[in-house]
């Protein structure tokens, strides 16, 4: 870090103050997985690391991400292998594959569509402003409206070139996922009427023990939207309690 500040800003941080600011550095939530196997609610689909919800609770501490992905990546791999052995190949829906492939290539043919980078930039700005470090109810509701508008823009992207190493195309494809994650974050944050870890609410600045009893889970609803539910946190097994007691 010393070296970087020196090279990029002519700043000797051992003698001169440096600017420090909070920023987005991790997503604590993620794909809901079985804690032992890392299997998601979609059979045969496993997730590990930052994309999976898991061990970090309300805030990830520096260094824990690496141990997370090493431990749970190993488990995910092992259980995926077991699953594959036991179940063999699934059946593929060719029509669904074709439809997905067609949709993925659409941005190349859409004359007059919007630059995906512009939409990604606007999404970043909007989420930073409304679901950022300090949150409050009205702004997050505002964000949900903003996401609706961005969704329709994301369906009308245009990218030049071809599929060979094309970052604009990747951005166009990413938008779909970025919008889903943004919406899940906003919806869960609206419901969590307390402050805990990385989630800080101006309108509910304190920690509420009631909220420690469950997690929020979001999934696709029948009408294609998003539905939220509370999932009770299982009671801690005795052997873990002992470890925590031992550590004081």
């Amino acid at each position: 870090m010393y070296h970087q500040f020196k090279q990029l800003a002519n700043l000797d941080i051992t003698t001169t103050p440096m600017d420090v600011g909070p920023t987005t550095h991790y997503v604590m939530g993620g794909i809901r997985v079985n804690a032992d196997t890392q299997e998601s609610t979609v059979p045969g689909l496993f997730a590990a690391g930052e994309c999976a919800a898991g061990i970090n609770g309300a805030n990830r501490l520096g260094g824990n991400s690496l141990s997370d992905l090493i431990v749970f990546g190993k488990r995910a791999g092992e259980h995926a292998a077991i699953f594959a052995k036991e179940n063999g190949h699934g059946t593929l829906d060719n029509a669904a594959i074709e439809q997905t492939a067609k949709a993925a290539l659409e941005p190349f043919d859409r004359d007059g569509g919007e630059n995906p980078y512009t939409i990604q930039h606007d999404l970043q700005e909007m989420m930073q402003a409304n679901v950022g470090i300090v949150r409050q109810h009205d702004e997050m509701v505002e964000a949900l409206n903003g996401l609706d508008a961005l969704k329709s823009r994301a369906a009308r992207t245009f990218v030049p070139g071809n599929i060979d190493f094309n970052p604009g195309w990747h951005t166009a494809l990413d938008l779909h996922n970025l919008l889903i994650v943004s919406e899940a974050i906003a919806r869960a944050a609206i419901e969590r009427k307390e402050s805990r870890g990385g989630h800080f609410r101006d309108d509910f600045p304190g920690k509420d023990p009631e909220f420690a009893k469950f997690n929020y889970s979001l999934k696709k609803s029948a009408d294609g939207g998003m539905e939220i539910s509370k999932i009770p946190i299982p009671e801690m097994p005795d052997y873990l309690k002992e470890v925590i007691d031992e550590m004081g």
Binding site: Q4, L8, P116, H121, V159, N162, D164, N166, P167, G168
Partner: protein
């Protein structure tokens, strides 16, 4: 603030051209920031490899105004902006698209270098003891981020295309780290002489000059390895003794 012009290589494996792009320059920007801005504003399909933006992943190697550099660590206020800034992929390797070169040759070369072979643990607790001095010697080599800028600038690879016969400065550093490791028992001297082509290096020190991690490649890695090769294969005294022995045997 002012705008600057960047002349960037556009094209694929076979053909390419330099295309000019203008973008707004602000304080503290590096070349990679400008490339990202150009991607977002006017060339969404401009391909470049990058990751950490902190000079530690070694992905964004390129030739900026002809000099091999990391784009993320090259500040715009260190280059003249009154004329177009040229950005090209590293030339010692085949281009793939725009600023991306295919560096996979390097990973193949690495596999050919004999692996670390530690001696049996010899301390009472079943581990080893090393002198700090011996550890310090190889520490420098471990700073390498495999950006391959040293490979790019090396004329043996870049101009003479000796990829088949010479492993390049990066892997001489890698070999040095293994050879000088206090626990290693492997001997790579024969390989260095024959298969790795260390003799091709004529110590022009270009690799040392471009290393973003400031590894003293030539002086601390390559020259000591050359000395080992010379010691073993080209020592005149040894040669004389061997010649003498050989004659004795023939008698």
């Amino acid at each position: 603030m002012a705008k600057a012009t960047f002349s960037i290589r556009r094209g694929g494996r076979e053909t390419a051209e330099m295309v000019n792009y203008q973008t707004e320059i602000s304080e503290g920007m590096v070349v990679l920031d400008a490339v990202h801005q150009i991607q977002a504003e006017s060339a969404p399909d401009l391909a470049c490899r990058w990751n950490c933006k902190a000079g530690k992943c070694g992905s964004c190697s390129a030739e900026i105004n002809g000099m091999p550099k990391l784009m993320c660590m090259t500040r715009l206020d260190t280059i003249p902006l009154d004329q177009p800034v040229t950005i090209e992929p590293i030339r010692a390797f085949p281009p793939v698209k725009d600023l991306i070169a295919d560096v996979s040759w390097n990973y193949e070369v690495k596999k050919r270098i004999k692996k670390f072979k530690p001696r049996e643990p010899d301390a009472e607790d079943g581990t080893w003891r090393m002198l700090q001095e011996d550890v310090d010697r190889v520490q420098e080599f471990r700073k390498c981020i495999e950006c391959f800028l040293c490979q790019d600038v090396c004329h043996v690879l870049r101009d003479h295309d000796k990829h088949e016969e010479f492993i390049g400065p990066r892997f001489l550093v890698y070999a040095a780290a293994l050879e000088m490791h206090p626990l290693d028992t492997e001997d790579r001297t024969g390989d260095l002489k024959d298969m790795h082509g260390i003799g091709y290096c004529n110590i022009t020190k270009c690799c040392t000059k471009v290393c973003p991690e400031h590894i003293t490649i030539t002086d601390n890695a390559i020259i000591p390895l050359k000395e080992r090769v010379v010691d073993e294969y080209y020592d005149p005294l040894k040669k004389l003794v061997n010649l003498f022995r050989k004659r004795k045997q023939e008698r």
